[in-house]
């Protein structure tokens, strides 16, 4: 593993997230109010590009840089966790205007209050880890 490669990819991600304005609380409000194509355009073109990328990888059985075939693991089919977990996350996404990536990108931008969001997110993660077996999956 080349550590620098992942740090550089992360830096690129941070720049893209900032310049795309996907880290903006205002933009997330605009999205959930369906008042602009902006965020839908970003997600839509990202997914269209991603679908083409994955199709090409599968069609030509492309390999990664270590020469291993690129695998796509099938997600398990139980649906409750996706719907319930997804809805809980969506509430937090609209409240903070940030999903997990942007939380850290915003911290880098100098919004130190994001440390509180990170603290909350870790607390939520720990509680989920503790309660997991008792929740509908």
């Amino acid at each position: 593993m080349k550590p620098i490669k992942y740090i550089l990819t992360g830096i690129l991600f941070g720049i893209i997230m900032t310049k795309s304005e996907a880290v903006s609380w205002y933009r997330i409000q605009e999205m959930f109010r369906f008042q602009s194509i902006f965020m839908y355009g970003i997600i839509g073109t990202a997914v269209i590009s991603g679908v083409i990328l994955v199709a090409v990888i599968k069609r030509f059985r492309l390999k990664d840089t270590d020469g291993l075939p690129i695998q796509f693991s099938k997600k398990d089919k139980r649906w409750k966790k996706y719907l319930i977990g997804g809805s809980i996350f969506g509430m937090g996404w609209a409240l903070t205007g940030a999903c997990p990536g942007p939380i850290f990108v915003l911290l880098g931008q100098g919004y130190t209050v994001m440390l509180m969001v990170i603290a909350g997110a870790l607390a939520g993660t720990i509680l989920y880890g503790a309660l997991r077996n008792r929740l509908p999956q």
């Binding site: 990328l53 997600k75 809980i88 990536g101």
Partner: protein
């Protein structure tokens, strides 16, 4: 080049740029899923001793934690060296709606009236930041992914579970926007 990058990016540039991150990670034999890092951090803190969910070898996920560190640096670089002076082109109706909730549009990416430490220590601030963060952590781990893992990686691989998760993201987001916000900001 810097001036070119500093302009506001149109959405049709940003979307494919995000897919580029997916491509780099796939060709490195990895997956694009940011919220896995929340579990990685918990495992790194030694919580695996007490909670089975965190009992895994986080060192194998070190690459993702490095990606996280990079994203913080990337945010710093973009904010300090790649900013344009133009206000973001937020829709007029959003500006109007937020004004009704006493949240002024100031042209920045984040409302300066909310994203500061003195606001944090108000009831609303705690609910927004600490409460919001809690829901993000609990929800993404429950759903097994966030926007990157489900909306980008999952939908790109045409995974039905990811579509269900994304529908969930919107159910939750609409609930906050149209039910909670009028109540919180009345």
């Amino acid at each position: 080049m810097i001036t070119f990058l500093s302009q506001p990016w149109p959405w049709y540039v940003s979307g494919p740029a995000i897919a580029l991150i997916l491509a780099i990670l796939l060709f490195s034999g990895k997956t694009f899923g940011f919220s896995a890092n929340l579990s990685n951090i918990c495992s790194m803190m030694g919580l695996g001793k007490r909670i089975d969910y965190f009992k895994f070898d986080w060192k194998k996920q070190q690459w993702n934690l490095l990606f996280l560190a990079g994203s913080v640096i990337g945010g710093y670089i973009a904010a300090h060296y790649l900013q344009s002076n133009q206000p973001i082109s937020l829709s007029k109706s959003t500006i109007e709606d937020l004004k009704k909730m006493n949240i002024p549009f100031d042209g920045n990416m984040e409302p300066a009236s909310i994203f500061n430490w003195s606001y944090l220590f108000t009831g609303r601030g705690l609910l927004l930041f600490l409460g919001g963060g809690f829901l993000i952590g609990f929800g993404t781990r429950y759903a097994g992914g966030c926007t990157s893992g489900h909306a980008i990686s999952g939908l790109s691989a045409l995974q039905l579970p990811s579509l269900i998760a994304v529908i969930g993201f919107f159910i939750g987001g609409l609930f906050t926007t149209f039910i909670l916000f009028p109540f919180i900001f009345k």
